[in-house]
Each structure stands twice: as structure tokens, then as C-alpha cells.
């Protein structure tokens, strides 16, 4: 029995070569350097003094397999109508200025040049009540038309998130696709109340800012949310020990000087 990509409704017994989906652009050739090398524990490089550097160094990566909550696939997409830009140029700019497109109050402390596989970025994220969540990401993959992050233990989501761009009818389309589980039961409790909406607003605003930077017209961000697995992985309930929100809050309570680090108001 054989099946082919791009033939979801086709006869599975026929092997007919097809073009790849435009949503899945192919590189010219596979390159080992597109992927980060395996890491057992994360290490953080030099970060600015105003950054809150917690919950990343020494942590292991945790993807959807290691998360607690329901598994969600979330897709955010925007067409850069009217912008004279190629997908490769979009990705090049995005990798060089990733944090510049984030909503105000959130900080991405990444490399000064461009995101590369294997680099660790520190995140200071704004939470309600002027609270800050200090966590990070590892760049696990990067090529000319996409790049991807994986989260460390303690991050609110155990996830892979891929940022890509492709051409559709001569227009560059930019897409963010996340595959995530809430890392622990506390984060899972917050999903229907706060976390889903916060996440959606965050990436919606990011794509708006990115599209605006290229001069796109009539910007509309499409969002899709699919629950891939309704089950919760109770064997990972103990992830709550690493909860970065709790740990950041405790740190700030016991270190008053940390209140003057970025706290959602920058």
C-alpha cells in the first residue's frame, strides 16, 4: 500500500508524485546545521542587567510529550497583502528582530544578530497584576523559510512553536504554529480562563506588528485552535515543582530589588 503527500482524498493504492503543500515549503537540500545539537541542560549566556534571569539555566527541554495538559495545535496566520517582500526576506527580518515585534511589556533577550539553531533566549513575559514570568526558549531549528523554538521545564507551555513564511498567489503569508500542552496542573487550570486568550492576543499582536513593518494593507490575523488530545498526562503533574510563574513570584517576593527589573511596564 502506498500513499502520497498532498493526496488526502486520493486512492491510497496509487503512487502519484505531487507538489508539496504551499504551507510546507521545501528547502533545496537538507542541512544538518538547520537543527540544534542535543542538549541535556540549558545554559544561558550573557544577558542585560535589567533582565530577570530565572528558570532557564540547568533546565531540560520539555516538548508536548512531556507536558501535562490537553494537547492543542494553534495556528496564527497573516497575509502580507500589498507588501513587496519574499518569504525568505520576512524570515530573515523576523530572525534578526524577533523581540521587536512583541507586545509592549514583554522582553526577548536573544542573540544580537540573528536567531540560530542552538541558541537560548531568555524571556521576561508580562503577566496580569504587573507580574513577570521569567523563562526561555531554545532555537531548535532554523532555515531560510522557518525557525522553531522548544520550551524548557517550567515554561507555561510544553511546546514546539514554528514560525514560517510561504508564498501564496504571489503574496507572502506568515504563519505561527504551536503544538503545546500546559506544563502542569496549575497552568492547565488557567488555560480556559486566561492562558488561551493571553496567548492568542500575544501572537495576534505580534503578527500585526510584523505585517505593519512590511507595510501590509488590510491586515487580518486568522487563528485556528484544535484540541489534538483531550487527555491530560497525569504522570507529568509533578512538573508543577518547576513552575516558572510560581518561582518567579517567590523570587520577587524575597528579592525586592528584582521589582525594578522588567515587570510588564517597560
Amino acid at each position: 500500500m502506498t500513499t502520497e503527500t498532498g493526496q488526502p482524498g486520493g486512492d491510497p493504492t496509487e503512487a502519484i508524485p505531487t507538489e508539496a503543500s504551499p504551507a510546507a515549503p521545501m528547502p533545496a537540500a537538507p542541512a544538518a546545521s538547520n537543527w540544534a545539537a542535543p542538549v541535556s541542560r540549558l545554559a544561558v549566556g550573557v544577558v542585560p542587567t535589567d533582565a530577570l534571569n530565572l528558570n532557564v539555566a540547568g533546565r531540560r527541554l520539555a516538548g508536548p510529550v512531556q507536558g501535562f495538559g490537553q494537547l492543542w495545535q494553534k495556528t496564527y496566520r497573516v497575509r502580507l497583502t500589498g507588501a513587496d517582500v519574499t518569504p525568505a526576506a520576512v524570515i530573515r527580518t523576523w530572525k534578526e528582530h524577533f523581540g521587536d515585534f512583541w507586545p509592549k511589556g514583554n522582553h526577548f533577550y536573544g542573540p544580537l544578530t540573528s536567531l540560530q539553531p542552538g541558541e537560548v533566549a531568555l524571556l521576561n513575559l508580562a503577566l496580569p497584576g504587573k507580574m513577570t514570568l521569567s523563562t526561555g526558549v531554545l532555537v531548535i531549528f532554523a532555515d531560510d523559510e522557518s525557525f522553531a523554538f522548544m520550551t524548557p521545564e517550567g515554561h507555561q507551555f510544553a511546546s514546539f512553536i514554528t514560525f514560517s513564511s510561504y508564498a501564496d498567489d504571489g503574496v507572502a503569508v506568515v504563519q505561527i504554529q504551536a503544538l503545546l500542552r500546559a506544563s502542569d496542573p496549575l497552568y492547565e487550570l488557567s488555560m480556559p480562563i486566561v492562558a488561551q486568550r493571553t496567548e492568542d492576543r500575544f501572537w495576534n499582536d505580534t503578527l500585526w506588528a510584523l505585517a505593519a513593518s512590511f507595510g501590509a494593507a488590510d491586515v487580518t490575523v486568522e487563528m485556528e485552535r484544535v484540541c489534538v488530545d483531550h487527555r491530560r498526562q497525569w504522570r507529568y503533574a509533578g512538573n508543577i515543582r518547576q513552575n516558572a510563574a510560581i518561582r518567579t513570584a517567590l523570587y520577587k517576593l524575597t528579592h525586592p530589588r528584582a521589582w525594578f527589573h522588567h515587570s510588564g511596564d517597560a
Binding site: T2, T3, E4, T5, P8, P30, A37, Q66, D229
Partner: protein, 117 residues
């Protein structure tokens, strides 16, 4: 750019089937891979073995697709195993910690032994 991915399904034993991937695994491979999973599964199937011997390319979308496949296989009460990964792709499984949930083996025979099939 044109790409071709061909996926075959083969019965290995009464309780195990293999899905053989020739070419690339990306998010665009999803319909074909899920179709192959359906073909590989029946009431007697307890293990599905992914044959990556002819894998040409895997990107981050493909890793996400393998997570989705894993969920589907587990929901059916089956195990997911793999063999034929080059050292490069083994490292990607290690990096992404997919090897926590997908048993990686050196050969089809070793995967079948691990599956008890």
C-alpha cells in the same frame, strides 16, 4: 519547488505493522501519514513501526506531525516504535525528546522484539 514523499504500509506480524517513509516529513505530509496510520491499524494491531531508512528530510513541522501521530497511536492503544534513523535524525529525536515516547531501534527485527510481536 516539487517534492515527493511516498509512504508504504506493510504488515510485519499479526500484531505489528510498519509505515515506511520515502522522502520528507513535514507538516504537508500529514494527510498521507495519517492515511497510512489508518491502513496500518486494525483490531489486532498493537504496534506500529516507523521505518525511517529512506528518510530524506525532517523539519520542525515534521516533528510536530510525529507528535500528532504518537497521540493517535496511543489513543488506539498501540505502541509507536522506529528504526532506520541516521545519527543525525537520532540526535533530532533526542533533542526534541521524542525518544521519550517513541522507542528507537537499530533494525526492524530489534523493533519487533521490543514490540513483542
Amino acid at each position: 519547488m516539487t517534492t515527493t514523499t511516498t509512504i508504504e504500509v506493510r504488515r510485519l506480524s499479526p500484531s505489528a505493522s510498519s509505515i515506511i517513509i520515502h522522502g520528507d516529513i513535514t507538516s504537508g505530509t500529514e494527510p498521507a501519514l495519517m492515511d497510512a496510520c489508518a491502513q496500518a491499524s486494525d483490531d489486532a494491531t498493537r504496534s506500529i513501526v516507523l521505518d525511517f531508512s529512506d528518510l530524506a528530510y525532517l523539519n520542525s513541522g515534521g516533528i510536530g506531525l510525529l507528535v500528532t501521530l504518537l497521540v493517535r497511536v496511543q489513543r488506539q492503544g498501540q505502541r509507536l516504535l522506529a528504526f532506520g534513523l541516521s545519527e543525525h535524525y537520532r540526535q533530532i529525536f533526542e533533542l526534541t525528546r521524542l525518544d521519550d515516547a517513541i522507542g528507537i531501534h537499530d533494525s526492524e527485527a530489534a523493533a519487533l522484539v521490543a514490540a513483542g510481536a
